[in-house]
């Protein structure tokens, strides 16, 4: 189980009690989302669609690498990794 830092985008910080960064324990992104939901109930349905797939306009980055170019939600995490969740808004709003 790896301990990782997760950056939360502003629109989702209401769910994380205004925390911009949270700590999760998970071996991959799929588990990370499960752990996030355990800590902050309600966050999962904002990140995943009704089929359990990551929503099209939510991007996950592991150490600045887009997981769509790694192994999607199977992308594995190692201790100390940094995960960013960034909404990719059509029309291009600045994600930061």
């Amino acid at each position: 189980m790896a301990k990782v830092k997760v950056r939360i985008p502003a629109p989702l910080q209401k769910i994380t009690q205004n925390k911009q960064e949270v700590i999760c324990e998970a071996v991959n992104i799929k588990e990370l989302i499960t752990d996030l939901e355990r800590q902050f109930p309600g966050i999962k349905e904002r990140l995943l669609d009704e089929n359990g797939k990551i929503r099209r306009f939510i991007n996950f980055y592991v150490n600045d690498e887009d997981i769509r170019f790694l192994k999607h939600d199977e992308t594995s995490l190692s201790d100390g990794a940094e995960v960013s969740i960034i909404p990719a808004i059509a029309g291009g709003i600045n994600p930061r």
Binding site: F57, R68, A90
Partner: protein, 424 residues
């Protein structure tokens, strides 16, 4: 009288009021205008249309204004030309050019979206309009803001063609060249849009703005006698045009204006900036952003805002995508000019070059009807072709000199094949 019910998320379907909103706060999907089609059907009939002026506003029930339009009243209803010479050159039977290179007022299809966006912005009470643009949008926002006395802030990559820059500056907007590519301009504009209370036509007004493109599809159907072509080829930058062409056809089907839509929508991009075409060809669900490198600067968007929806439209319609190299773009611009007498900009060259390749690969069968969307005017991108043209032949003002030229004309033409740089 408005038929707009509100806005709806294209991803999760959540509903929002018709306001200055563009992103679903729940799932971050983009918002789209939702219409009351049942009521539109009662008034919007072929008979009613036959009595209306030949502009895009003849389809006003399907455009997202609450009041009558206040700018761009003469936009749209551009010619649909039966292109027999070009058809012969390409070896196809039935080919049409939808010629938005002569759209009013600024000679590109962007006049459609801007007419809607600025009319809507005035409904919302904005006194300043703005945009991030690769050129044509800038021209149209600058001109149409001037026509109704709004302030305009326009952001473009600093390295655009001089024709595009001059065609904005002349209307006296606040024109700002950004040292970066369009995607960087767009990102900056998103930050500005969240800080300043301006109507950014392609950011916070985007759901309304984008609907303007549908008028091109309605016109094509009406100009073909309420029939749809079997194929339509259109260029993609942000991906909005092909998304909305497809939507326009589906709406006409829903309203009973045309039979079941069987049109294949094909996407054309420049070879150095083809994120949507790449996803089509690789059958990928992911659009990988690229750093643009193409002479088709108007299409140089590496991170297309509506890329996924464009991909959906192409796939659902059974269409394909093709990309054109710089040389192919220039050749296609020349081919369209010498076969049909239409001078298009680089984006039009991309469309024709891509169509040519799709035909050669038999992805567009030669005996099926084809419409090419020519979206911009060649006078604005002269740099792109000037080096590929023969130089100006000069003679003395005498009959003898002329006859000498006629005799040696062809030889001379080849010998003097030099660039006329003072033209640009």
């Amino acid at each position: 009288m408005s038929y707009v019910l509100g806005l709806k998320c294209r991803e999760c379907g959540r509903e929002y009021p018709k306001d200055v909103l563009f992103v679903c706060e729940y799932c971050f999907g983009s918002l789209e205008v939702d219409y009351d089609y049942a009521n539109i059907k009662k008034l919007f009939t072929k008979k009613a249309l036959s009595e209306r002026p030949k502009t895009m506003w003849r389809y006003k029930e399907l455009l997202p204004l609450d009041k009558e339009p206040t700018v761009g009243l003469d936009s749209g209803f551009t010619p649909l030309i039966r292109a027999n010479n070009l058809a012969r050159a390409l070896g196809v039977e039935e080919l049409y050019i939808k010629d938005d290179s002569v759209n009013h007022p600024t000679l590109s299809f962007k006049d459609r979206v801007v007419s809607v966006a600025i009319s809507k912005s005035r409904e919302f009470g904005f006194d300043t309009v703005a945009c991030a643009s690769t050129g044509n949008l800038a021209n149209s926002v600058a001109a149409q803001a001037a026509s109704c006395g709004l302030k305009a802030y326009i952001f473009i990559p600093a390295d655009l063609e001089s024709g595009k820059v001059v065609s904005s500056l002349i209307y006296n907007p606040n024109l700002i060249g950004i040292e970066g590519n369009y995607d960087e301009v767009n990102r900056l504009c998103s930050e500005i849009a969240s800080k300043y209370r301006w109507a950014f036509v392609n950011i916070n007004i985007r759901p309304y703005y984008a609907e303007g493109s549908k008028s091109m599809g309605y016109e094509i159907a009406e100009q073909l006698g309420w029939k749809l072509p079997q194929h339509i080829v259109a260029p993609s930058a942000g991906g909005s045009l092909i998304t909305k062409l497809w939507k326009s056809f589906k709406e006409l089907e829903k309203l009973g204006f045309v039979a079941q839509v069987e049109t294949r929508v094909h996407c054309a991009q420049g070879a150095g900036c083809a994120p949507i075409v790449t996803a089509i060809k690789e059958k990928s669900d992911i659009i990988r952003p690229v750093k643009p490198k193409t002479i088709a600067k108007s299409l140089a968007i590496g991170n297309p805002a509506d890329g996924y929806y464009a991909l959906d439209a192409v796939r659902r319609s059974g269409g394909y995508g093709e990309e054109a190299s710089d040389e192919e773009i220039i050749e296609a611009i020349k081919l369209l000019a010498k076969s049909e007498g239409i001078f298009t900009e680089t984006a039009g060259g991309v469309t024709l070059a891509a169509a040519k390749k799709l035909i050669a690969q038999k992805l567009i069968p030669r005996d099926e009807s084809i419409v090419l969307c020519i979206t911009g005017n060649g006078l604005k991108t002269q740099e792109a072709v000037v080096k590929a043209l023969p130089g100006l032949i000069k003679i003395k003002p005498s009959l003898a000199s002329f006859e000498e030229h006629i005799k040696n004309g062809e030889k001379q033409k080849i010998a003097e094949n030099k660039v006329i740089e003072y033209y640009i």
